[in-house]
Symmetry: D2
Subunit: 338 residues, 4 copies
């Protein structure tokens, strides 16, 4: 932490702060400029964080030097982590695809979707049984029944299942049916849920919050890993900006940033990231070219009849076309990298 | 809902959509322009919402005509609602002040804060027992112990207690100690929590999410009221923007918007809204002048020693000064309104 | 400037940076922590700014300690500046009101508007002769003809005239007709225009850019003052956020921030700030309560027939009502401040 | 345009609006719902735009059905436009690269940069002679002298020159030295500049404004084309969001959106889009995979000594590596597309 004193700060105020720093078991280093003094603080991050520096008199501002996440940081763990979901590896240089409908709507819809997904070559089936919806009057998901269809689809196709958990109560149930637990954008800072999922040990797909900074997102992962669960995969799914033509603004820069700051894998969801099915293919290609470890794609047997997110879902034909191109690109890029 | 067809849409595509609309029990009204057709849909909102219009071929975009919240809407409930919290009325034209520390840190700190708050004339004591924090290494709250201190402070001062509930498990416990349950910004779209608090019947303070639109905020309240709990008070606490000098950008326009769209009361939290104690007084004055039903203010006996949010907490002297000015202003405005 | 080295930085990299700092005539102060070194730089701000610190190897990030504006900074000019526009003072504790139509549309419209404004008690008439419009097909202003009507309205009513200048060519012409030159939001970083207006010496109303940080806004003013023109008044007019119900999000926190960081006055434009006439009064009251030095309000004799910004313009009746309340509030607050 | 009346609107209010619509030579179509009436307006877009609908009594809101740009719209011009810059084609399916330093700093620096750029295989040399800078104390560019170096570099290398024009006065001068005129992000809505450059007929590179919506960006291009200059190329360079780790958030979704809404080409600037040299390569790959017609890359012979934007400039080695990978990817994608 670096403290910038204001230009009117007195020697007493500076001295008072130095004393408080030292009383907390930390060291203070003063640098006197022409107009102001700055104070560097050295020592335990947690002790530094507990000082409400900007509440002290004479302080202009406090500049944090480092972030407080450690377990997910690449700084102390330079090798990339490969997350293994029952045999499917994420982050090992291959491209993992998770696809399926936004919501599980019926047995028929899900099994049909699973076969479409399987045929086109994905490794994971996605599908929401618990749906967080803006309006209480929108379809809220089939819950337990939906989980059962997911398990049936898995048995039928061999696809792994990833599905969202929206509350603590459901963790145990969902864990019985799913291979990977998804934390949705709206729950990225639901810290109780993060801790409990951390304790469950199940592989986790952590979606970025609508207005979450990289720092907040990394801290959310830190909550999970700090409970003993290192199997976290980030999922960029677009952030909220002033632009309204697209549902969100897909931030593909997140791939490079997360890989630089963390050792954990990151995949991209261009379906939520754009909200428009006709943008999904080009954004998938871009995500792969930028180095994403995987994709999450919404596919529906008949988007016109989807109960949720129809406008951003691919139909079977467009999904197969996307998969063909994306796979070729992944092969090309791997070859290029060697 | 109004559907805008693209200029290349065929008669068959339009006819197909009209059939789907009618099959859903709705009416379709076509308006043909020179370059394109628009289709107005009349009928049950829920049925309209379930059609994934933008997934149909030939559609350029779908424009929603009305929102789907009803219970919180002023349109069907023109009279303002007054929320009664054990005798203290919010929304009746008076100014309600909720004040206290960000977090309950110790018995001494809280009781001292409560007396400061009481002396200056507030009606509610605030203080977090469960603290959602970005970092898992930051102080997470005293939990049950904190609730007990809050109850003791209430017994001592007669102040009502408002405190945050961060998960379903804690609702029952917190309800035993608090008069009003706060839903924090990060949980504004934690729909399980909203539903459960809706079932509890306790008065609720619903903070605006960091990146929540008015429409999403109103829907969050709709979740609560829809479960049978009409005692919801909105709290504007700043939104996330590109500006980083302040912690958030306090959106005082929310007061007028919420009062126009809803019959429920709204208060303002300038402490979180700015993140800087020296801005709290002027933003409090502004909130009152804009018609807020109340204020939520962070006060700490010694902000320099606060475990959370010290930089935005007022010390006792500044808080008393704020209360004096704010109260005079409220009296003046009431007189002017008569 | 404080440089944060990454934890892998070598002694050579640190030494190389220290040499470059000293070669630029600056001093480097090293603070060694357990995991990383930070380097404080002392000396001339301009020399510091010219070092591309983050391009050096081994650097994690550079943290600016101070901003580079000086002339507009309160730090070196603690007394507030009062801008005198031909006898009308802005920033002396009184409340200045600038009102009128968005655009000058015709002689009749403008003279009628001027009389409405005069009668209700404002000091300035506003009205655009040059209109920056998103679409080339929208009304672009009467230009020279509009300026003549403004001058006629001034002669008739005694109101001062403030109007926008959108390009360098027009500065001289507009200066002949207007008492104060407005720089619009879209031109806040049109640096040629800022410099030329700085040379003109005319009082300037500097609107905040749609996505301008406080720092950028202060620097825009610095451009003007740096050319020898100290008569700058800031105007907060709303920023662009994710919220679309209002045209912009009015940031009333800007009042306190600008007054803390700068000695120049600041007024507020709630008409553009909200885009909705029914929000203008409450936001005007809030702006005055927050300490604004003035208001800029759009008024139209018949908003239904406005060629520009009708939805946010007050009609004569609502404007008179606003002025009555705002004036009483200003009197009350002045008394309270004494 | 579709007008949504509020549920309390009277028959008189509706009738009054219908009369105003018809008086403007337009047709009104009423659709009566259970709770409210909506009115569709048919006719000339310009006439519709001139009605201040939301200023009428009884109106809840007005929903625009179409945008007002026509010349740049794909709807009326389905074939993609290829912009020819003195023999180099942009938008014909090939990948065009523009590279060079942020600012022209000296003859030596520029000629060295030009040779680096030439050697790696770009078609355009970029370099600013007029630099818009946030601070008046930052390097402002060599102006005329810089232009002469650019022309010399062109003669030496055969590269085309693209450089920014920041004011009307400079258009003629810059046009003598450059092959393509750049409009910077801060000037995207400097409508005088857009019009004058439209009259000049020179090919234009139109950067997206920091907070410009797609709609505003398309309208800015419409200003240029409307003056008779159809040679406009869009350049996505990142938008301003809440994230501060990167300088901007690069919106690669813009590629697909612009290509869908307009027939004009679009290139991407990952240097400004991220502000970090280590992100430029992966974002370049992503841009190409998403279908961009070209790239604009900042390269400096020695980024550590750059007077502007050093942290985001590639050194010669990294630039050559980027070009090799990007070129192979472009070849692969072209083959795949065939």
């Amino acid at each position: 932490m670096v403290i910038v004193m204001n230009s009117k700060a007195t020697r007493e105020q500076i001295q008072h702060i130095v004393e408080r720093i030292e009383a907390a078991g930390l060291q203070a280093h003063l640098v006197d400029g022409e107009f102001r003094t700055i104070i560097g603080i050295i020592g335990d991050k947690k002790a530094i964080m507990s000082l409400p520096i900007e509440a002290f008199e004479g302080v202009d501002k406090a500049l944090p030097v480092t972030s407080s996440y450690k377990l997910v940081s690449r700084e102390f763990h330079p090798e990339p982590t490969v997350v293994d979901v029952d045999g499917v590896k994420i982050g090992d240089g291959s491209l993992v695809v998770m696809a399926g409908p936004c919501a599980v709507e019926s047995r028929e819809q899900l099994l049909e979707a699973a076969q479409i997904v399987r045929a086109a070559g994905a490794q994971f089936l996605r599908g929401g049984a618990y749906k967080p919806r803006t309006s209480p009057y929108a379809f809220q998901g089939l819950e337990q029944e939906g989980l059962e269809y997911l398990a049936e689809a898995r048995a039928l196709t061999g696809l792994k299942v990833v599905t969202e958990v929206t509350n603590i109560h459901a963790i145990e149930t969902v864990s019985r049916y799913a291979d990977m637990l998804q934390i949705g954008a709206r729950n990225m800072q639901n810290f109780h849920l993060l801790k409990e999922i951390g304790r469950s040990g199940k592989p986790v797909l952590l979606k970025r919050g609508l207005a979450a900074t990289y720092d907040e997102w990394l801290h959310a992962a830190e909550y999970i890993v700090n409970e003993g669960n290192p199997n976290v995969v980030f999922c960029e799914r677009g952030i909220r900006t002033f632009e309204t033509y697209t549902r969100n603004t897909l931030d593909l820069g997140a791939i490079g940033v997360i890989k630089r700051l963390s050792h954990l894998p990151i995949i991209v969801d261009p379906s939520h990231g754009t909200g428009k099915w006709h943008m999904v293919k080009s954004m998938s290609m871009a995500a792969v070219a930028a180095g994403a470890d995987g994709l999450m794609i919404e596919v529906h047997p008949d988007p016109e009849r989807a109960l949720s997110d129809g406008p951003q879902s691919l139909n079977p034909f467009n999904y197969a076309s996307l998969m063909a191109d994306v796979r070729e690109l992944a092969v090309f890029l791997r070859k290029q990298a060697m």
